[in-house]
């Protein structure tokens, strides 16, 4: 088995794609339970439409992507870490 990490493009997909899927599910579940309008009514975001709130909710994506990225980051083997340090 090769211990070398997969190419950058594959790692990028491995971070972005699962986080996209999970944040999609999370956004749907969240907004099924909570209607954003009454919740935002007394805040600075009162002007925001529901659609706007849903889309901003989808920025959940940033959190799930961060989690996927951390997984990728921590998954590196000691050899790879040394390699990276040597390259730099």
């Amino acid at each position: 088995m090769s211990r070398k990490s997969s190419p950058k493009s594959q790692r990028l997909v491995a971070v972005l794609w699962p986080s996209f899927l999970v944040s999609g599910v999370a956004t749907v579940l969240f907004f099924v339970m909570f209607d954003p309008l009454p919740r935002l009514a007394n805040t600075d975001l009162a002007e925001l439409s529901r659609l706007g709130a849903y889309n901003i909710g989808f920025l959940w994506f940033l959190i799930t992507a961060a989690s996927s990225w951390l997984t990728c980051y921590c998954q590196r083997s000691p050899e790879q870490l040394e390699q990276t340090t040597a390259d730099a």
């Binding site: 899927l21 209607d35 529901r50």
Partner: protein
Amino acid sequence: MTSSVENIEQTLYAKREKIFPRQVHGLFARLRLLGITVLMGIYYGLPWVTLGDRQAVLFDLPARKFYIFALSFWPQDFIYLASLLIIAALALFFFTALAGRLWCGYACPQTVWTEVFLWIERKVEGNRAKQMKLDKSPWNRRKVLIRGTKHVLWIALSLWTGYTFVGYFTPIRELGHSVLNLSTGPWETFWLIFYGFATYGNAGWLREQVCIYMCPYARFQSAMFDKNTLIISYDIDRGEPRGSRKRGIDPKNAGLGDCIDCTLCVQVCPTGIDIRNGLQYECIGCSACIDACDEVMDKMDYPRGLVRYTTENAIEGKPARVLRPRVLMYAIILIGLLGAVGYSIAIRVPVGLDVIRDRNSLYRETVEGLVENVYTLKLLNMDDRDQRYRVSAFGLKDLTLKQDHASIEVPAGQVREFSARLQIDPVNLKQASNEVFFELVAIDNETLRVREPARFLGPSRSR
């Protein structure tokens, strides 16, 4: 690390070789074409269907309402959406156990759009040989022109796909006007371009890599497989030893099997594998190799089916069983769920009632000496026409309902709030907290009826 190890590891992750699937004709190609036509027709056509004065299928996110033909679903109906997804997943398991990757080969959007993109590619660049020649040729005027045309067509189709996608969430005709006036909202613009870009990237560029690296289903589908699952397989016993030969020669005399090693099965494969190496994870079960091989077998006057749909048991000469515990279990659960959801949608009453007790006071006593509780009633008309409702209350002896209006009109798809008071003579109260019911009936349609429990509080008996 030594340099030789380094080299091997580099090649392990060699840059993906571009695949140019050869066009195939045959029974399964026709079936797939049928599938593609139907599914594409549904996807692109459905948002344009109207029912009455609204779009027949519309997921109206701003209004938090989903319309699917005559049915309209509210956030309260989320259970149906969840059940629908569970049913879809179970159906996928069922068909996978029964017939392998049917979904991947015929119905998956990735397959369907890739096929359409391949079709455009073939129309513009020509057949496989021409595509490969063009790919190798240096960039000149002709190549730029041909490739440019292909990408313009791909992008046009992708944008139309994105437009259709957004059209499921925003009324598509109005969206069309805003697109023409370049006045789409920021979210609409974003999702139109995003979905279009995803289509272009997935069907034009990524293709089989989506199935190999990105698809979760592809990763676990083999868990549903057993020895009786339909798979696409090459008949090794019959085919080997493979080799080219002159037509009309008896292969047995030449010491050859039926495989003439024409590699057509490899050339047609959209994921670029050789089915003769056995069942592989990359195989999406599109059966292009079956069609290709059958055509060759016909030309050689050999029986068809050197590559065919079969099962592991059948290859080993054991009897194949269609009905087995795994398939039956999936079928039973699937039918049960379908029945339950179908039944509950059929008996679903499109009216909702929420009862909220006034939280500011437990109860109060009227001048007549009656105990009174105040409630806010929230009335949801989930029907597609306006309704007038009458409210009644019961559950305690001589319970009277006081309200401002005898009946309440709620327009289609709207919510109305009103307050109601319940009064009772304290002698009829056995305990401090009592269960009462509010009942809502549509005046024009007695079947539109919903009952909701509530608490009625009074003085405690020990007083």
